[in-house]
């Protein structure tokens, strides 16, 4: 029991706290924040495309592919816009610009796969647009009210 207490008391959550802090798009660490989000966007899109033709009977893989088609990224970016505005009000329009740039990165990553594989679907601009309808209204509302 003592060991368990020591284990729990000694647990460090600092990396996660720092990562969550980066989702605020903090003015002092903007580059780090954008790098993190950019890496997540690139990773999701490449994972979606890489998983397209493998593990075809796996439900888990299929759910991941569906989530990474647009839902995960667009919800994450919507959360970032809301979270950033709560912690650093008045930067809503700048944050929207950053998120728009991340959408461009998302599109370019998908299109890059067309270069390396013939008959790749590339970026799915249709579902990205559906994702944008989730992300941007949230950001616009926060930008207008703060």
């Amino acid at each position: 029991m003592t060991y368990l207490h020591q284990l729990v008391d000694g647990m460090t959550t600092r990396p996660f706290v720092r990562l969550i802090h980066l989702l605020e798009l903090p003015p002092g660490r903007l580059w780090a924040s954008v790098s993190l989000l950019g890496a997540v966007i690139v990773l999701c899109e490449l994972t979606r495309i890489a998983l397209a033709t493998v593990a075809t009977r796996s439900r888990i893989v299929h759910v991941i592919v569906c989530l990474f088609t647009f839902a995960f990224q667009s919800l994450l970016l919507a959360f970032v816009l809301a979270f950033a505005d709560r912690h650093h009000p008045g930067r809503g329009w700048l944050n929207l610009g950053i998120v728009a740039a991340l959408y461009v990165l998302w599109y370019l990553t998908g299109e890059l796969t067309r270069v390396v594989r013939s008959h790749s679907e590339g970026a799915d601009l249709g579902f990205m647009a559906v994702g944008a309808l989730i992300t941007f209204p949230v950001g616009i509302v926060y930008a207008l009210i703060t």
Binding site: A32, V54, T113, V115, V116, S118, M128, A129
Partner: protein, 373 residues
């Protein structure tokens, strides 16, 4: 043309992989030997924890060796590529984390940048290498028959169509087959009566689209009426058509393969695939191909076509179509909305596909059909 391009891409990736193999393996040996002068030149402090420093160098050296193994035989080491992607991405992530936390000298960021670039390069190489059989089929090739028995010139077409798009597509494949002397039997997959109302279009039940969507994402099977296909049927070709349902094969078509009673009908037979979709076809095509291969069939041809129109309006047109239960609604958007049926050029291509399937090269050696009951 495509083959030459693919070969050049493969060679380009292999060169990049060799570069990181040498950099990782050679570079880490050099750093271990000369870390004092190197760190002194760039103004970085000497490592506080020499054990961890050595371990990291050892890990990075190992990744270099893995990269060299990939360089030698990329196709045989797809699993290693995944391992290297993870290794490099995690190394880059930790490097950036500690750099931005202010606990790492800028010199180490160089390795973070290198590894993050290489994580993407390896990811792209993986995408390039995956499922080479589908790459060949998508080039438009019709493969040699795997069925050595004499041709009966009879084909069976299995499909499921709610809106009529798939039915139109399969009709043109049939036209092509018939033009080449084939007798074609079409079988529309019938959903079990208990669930039939859910899968009717225009939707009849409340939240039908939502329910179908959730089922498609979670791959919940649907019961279909028995196809009653005999293992010793005399069709020399089976064509399977599927519409894309949330990045997957449509549930009623997948149900054909989920029923073990149908497996023998595909064993040792030539099978062709047709995918019809809004825009995403790679995964549904792969799903069908792998099912067919799993039950012993030989995929001799595959075609996939998306509805006409440009994105993103094509996607929104599909949602309006599904929501309104027909095309051209709402009326005030009629000019903007794109068609929900394949364009004529795609249909003409499908007819040519039918002809090409009928003329597919015969199996090399006539002998008993493999896998036949």
């Amino acid at each position: 043309m495509c083959e030459t391009r693919d070969s050049k891409i493969r060679q380009g990736f292999r060169t990049l992989v060799l570069l990181t193999a040498l950099a990782n393996a050679g570079g880490n040996v050099a750093i271990l030997l000369f870390y004092r002068p190197i760190l002194g030149w760039v103004g970085a402090p000497l490592p506080i924890d020499i054990f961890s420093f050595t371990f990291v160098c050892g890990f990075s050296f190992t990744v270099g060796i893995l990269a060299f193994i990939i360089y030698r035989a990329p196709e045989a080491n797809l699993g290693l590529i995944v391992a290297v992607i993870l290794g490099k991405a995690i190394y880059a992530a930790f490097t950036f984390y500690f750099y931005y936390a202010g606990e790492l000298h800028w010199f180490y960021r160089v390795f973070g940048v290198w590894d993050s670039c290489y994580a993407v390069i390896f990811f792209l190489f993986l995408i390039h290498l995956q499922s080479p059989d589908l790459t060949i089929l998508n080039r438009g090739e019709i493969l040699q028959s795997g069925d050595p028995t004499p041709r009966s010139k009879k084909a069976l077409v299995l499909y499921f169509s709610m809106s009529g798009n798939g039915a139109r597509a399969i009709l043109r494949v049939m036209t092509g087959l018939v033009a080449e002397g084939y007798t074609v039997t079409e079988r529309l997959v019938q959903v079990d009566p208990r669930e039939q109302r859910l899968f009717r279009f225009p939707f009849e039940q409340r939240f039908a689209f939502l329910r179908i969507m959730i089922r498609a994402i979670l791959r919940i099977p649907v019961a279909i009426q028995p196809l009653a296909l005999a293992a010793d049927h005399d069709y020399d070709l089976i064509v399977v058509e599927s519409q894309t349902w949330f990045v997957g094969v449509s549930a009623p078509v997948e149900a054909i393969f989920q029923d073990p009673a149908n497996h023998a009908a595909f064993a040792g037979r030539d099978v062709a695939i047709v995918n019809v979709c809004r825009g995403l076809w790679r995964r549904p095509q792969a799903m069908l191909a792998r099912w067919i291969q799993a039950v012993g069939g030989r995929v001799v041809g595959a075609r996939a076509f998306g509805n006409p129109g440009r994105e993103p309006i094509r996607t929104f047109s599909l949602f309006f179509f599904l929501g309104a239960g027909g095309t051209g609604r709402p009326a005030f958007l009629r000019r903007l909305l794109t068609p929900q049926l394949l364009a004529e050029d795609a249909l003409a291509e499908l007819e040519r596909f039918g002809r090409a399937l009928a003329r597919r090269p015969a199996a090399a050696m006539p002998h008993a059909r493999a896998g036949a009951a």
